[in-house]
């Protein structure tokens, strides 16, 4: 199932595990998404956000080689860009300030991510 409204959207992928990042990129590309990244570290994530004019949404892995992705999430929130956590973490590992961000638990099916992203982007455009 392909989310029609992801067509042409720019989605940032932050995921340090190459195979997962690659698979997710593939899945999103198949859905017509313009994939930003994937990137594997907080620093690279911050740089990419700073240098990219238009980001519609983001999928964030929580733990990047021991660093937490939360600075990236804060930066996205500052810019009003919606995001979802793709994580193996239970709820308690994620700070309360991100309680409203949707989570997709690993291992995930590609279309569960596209569905979540579709909802995020729709609601941010309203």
């Amino acid at each position: 199932m392909v989310e029609q409204n992801l067509q042409g959207c720019s989605v940032l992928i932050v995921e340090d595990e190459y195979l997962l990042a690659d698979d997710l990129s593939q899945a999103l590309a198949d859905a017509g998404v313009h994939v930003l990244g994937p990137i594997a570290s907080v620093d690279d994530g911050m740089r990419l956000i700073g240098s990219t004019a238009s980001i519609d949404a983001a999928v964030l892995d929580v733990n990047l080689r021991g660093d937490m992705v939360f600075p990236v999430a804060d930066e996205l929130r500052l810019r009003g860009i919606p995001f979802a956590f793709a994580t193996g973490y239970d709820e308690s590992a994620i700070p309360d300030r991100f309680a409203d961000a949707p989570r997709v638990e690993k291992p995930f099916k590609g279309h569960s991510i596209t569905a979540v992203l579709g909802t995020l982007i729709r609601s941010s455009h309203q």
Binding site: E17, L19, L20, N63, Y89, A93, E105, K106
Partner: protein
């Protein structure tokens, strides 16, 4: 068994009677003596009267003779004068005799009277003595009744300390008879451990005349010992000791209870002073009355300083209000519970403590005091935090691993042409994943996995290796113990696995002529990290594929090396075919310190 042969005491009344009897006897003797004197006087007078009578007689005879002569002869004036003189003497003598006789009569009468009085008094005294003896016998009986009635042991000793009498209780308790107990025989019933002490004390009391008081054990008839409080005091008569009286009260149950209490207190104290918790006692409102030595040692506060609300000073300033608030509500809840930081003098920092106290209540339910403990939970809190990090990390790893398995499976599916190939291929890769999980979990503590170990694990899955890691067609050369960051071990291991698998399937290890040489080393990079370089060289491979040819293993291994390692590990890699086989180089960042431990999420 009781010796009845001696009176209990000399009654003062009786002695008074005896004294009085003695006086009576003396006065009787003196009366008799007086009587004798009087009799003597009387006899003397009688003798004189008789003598005078004889003289008178003689005088009369002479007179008659003379008168006869005178009559015959002539009247003589001189003779007349002599006769009238004799008459006068006789008259005086008679008068004297008369007086004496009267005196004698008076004396006799007085003597008789005195005798009568004496008889009466002796009779009276005899009656009194009889009555007194009867009374004495009755009081003796009373005394015996009382002495057998009291619960105490009683005995009497002479002034040298030798026992002469015991009450029935003594005999009943000890099973001794009078023959056993008298003298110092009673000491036989004293506990052997107390004996020397008792003997010494008894002796000292007898010598000094000071009251004796000792607690010691006495053996009962069954051979069990009971504790008694023994007191002895002398009975004196004008300073002289007549007897000693001793009384023994059974204090066994009391003493045993006290000993048990002391032991229980001793145990309690040992327990309190041995436990790691800080223990204290308090009145309502946190008014401490006592704190254990641990508190003093921990906080460097003295017992005095910690008393009342002094202990608050040892709490973290931010926790003091909460502590007082907890005390305010404690009586209502019947328990005090508090988490507060207490200053550790030795470390010069505050540590987290869990404090708990329960009230000790009187029988009417009123709170008498509180007994509390403060338990150091600082380490536990740290461990809990650490554990929580570990659990989170484990979640992350597991989920990630599942995701990696999913990704590997999908890639394997893409690279094979039939299910049989898939089975072999996926089996190999899952085993490689399992091996690397094993490596990661086998780490001692949080020590890092060294590269040589990772290489050996992957190669030995395919070929036999010796202790140095060399095999028939394999030679390795590089320093041992170059530690890898845990986060890169899985992907790195999978990449090495793919290289080895390809070598076995298509490369140096597919034919006897082939040879694999792996060399590695480290070189400095910056002040935070070093670079590990790995050189994987296959030689003697006859069938080297063309560079443009489609990868034989489906390209998964090559993808890992050329894309995953750079993406994930920041590695620089080169993968190429040379004349005699594959030549692959990898450079990646490793920590400076091989031995250093790493954070759980490193």
């Amino acid at each position: 068994m009781v010796r009845q042969d001696e009176p209990i005491s000399v009654q003062p009344d009786a002695r008074m009677l005896l004294d009085e009897n003695e006086q009576l006897r003396t006065s009787l003797e003196s009366a008799l003596e007086e009587n004798a004197n009087l009799t003597e006087d009387r006899d003397r007078l009688l003798r004189r009267v008789a003598e005078m009578a004889r003289e008178l007689q003689t005088s009369h005879s002479a007179y008659a003779r003379e008168r006869d002569i005178e009559t015959a002869l002539a009247t003589d004036d001189a003779a007349e004068t002599q006769r009238s003189q004799s008459d006068e003497e006789l008259r005086v003598a008679f008068e004297e005799l008369q007086v004496l006789t009267e005196e004698l009569e008076v004396a006799n009468s007085s003597l008789h009277q005195t005798n009568q009085q004496l008889d009466n008094r002796v009779e009276e005294r005899t009656r009194q003595i009889r009555e007194s003896n009867a009374a004495l016998r009755s009081s003796e009986a009373s005394f015996r009744t009382i002495s057998d009635l009291v619960p105490d042991l009683l005995w009497r000793a002479d002034r040298r300390g030798d026992a002469t009498w015991f009450n029935q209780r003594w005999y009943n308790l000890t099973g001794q008879d009078a023959g056993d107990a008298v003298g110092l025989g009673w000491l036989d019933a004293v506990h052997p451990e107390d004996l020397a002490h008792v003997r010494e004390g008894w002796q000292a009391a007898m010598e000094s005349g000071q009251p004796y008081q000792h607690e010691h054990r006495i053996r009962d008839a069954e051979g069990n010992y009971r504790w008694f409080l023994i007191r002895a005091e002398p009975l004196r008569d004008s300073g002289r000791i007549l007897h000693w009286f001793a009384a023994g009260a059974d204090i066994h149950d009391q003493r045993v209870a006290i000993e048990a209490l002391e032991q229980s207190e001793q145990r309690f104290r040992t327990l309190i002073e041995g436990m790691p918790q800080l223990v204290w006692r308090s009145e309502n409102g946190g008014q401490w009355t006592w704190s254990s030595p641990q508190w003093h040692e921990y906080t460097a506060q003295s017992d005095e300083q910690a008393r009342a609300l002094g202990w608050l000073d040892a709490l973290h300033p931010d926790d003091r209000a909460a502590a007082q608030a907890a005390w305010a509500v404690a009586p209502e809840g019947g328990v005090l519970e508090l988490e507060a930081r207490i200053f550790h003098a030795k470390e010069q920092r505050h540590r987290h403590f869990r404090t708990r106290a329960l009230p000790v209540r009187r029988s009417d339910g009123e709170i008498m005091e509180w007994l509390g403990t403060s338990t150091d939970v600082d380490d536990i809190l740290q461990l809990q935090k650490h554990q929580s990090v570990l659990v989170t990390e484990l979640q992350h790893r597991t989920r990630n691993l599942m995701a990696v398995v999913q990704a590997v499976t999908l890639r394997t599916l893409k690279g094979v042409s039939n299910l049989e190939d898939f089975r072999k291929c996926i089996d190999d890769r899952l085993q490689a994943l399992a091996r690397v999980q094993g490596l990661l979990s086998r780490r001692d503590g949080a020590l890092r996995v060294p590269f040589d170990l990772l290489l050996r694990e992957e190669l030995s899955a395919h070929v036999a290796l010796d202790a140095q890691g060399n095999g028939e067609q394999v030679s390795v050369d590089g320093p041992r113990g170059v530690a890898l960051r845990s986060g890169i071990v899985q992907t790195f291991a999978l990449a090495i696995h793919e290289l080895a698998t390809n070598a076995v399937k298509y490369g140096a290890l597919a034919s006897p002529e082939g040879r694999l040489t792996v060399r590695w080393g480290v070189r400095p990079r910056d002040d935070r990290a070093r670079t590990l370089w790995v050189d994987w060289l296959e030689t003697g491979v006859a069938d080297v594929p063309n560079a443009n040819e489609k990868p034989r293993g489906g390209g998964y291994g090559r993808e890992l090396l050329e894309r995953a390692l750079p993406y994930q590990l920041g590695a620089r890699t080169h993968y190429g075919f040379e004349e005699q086989g594959i030549h692959c180089t990898i450079e990646l960042e490793v920590p400076l310190d091989d031995a250093a431990q790493e954070k759980a999420n490193g």
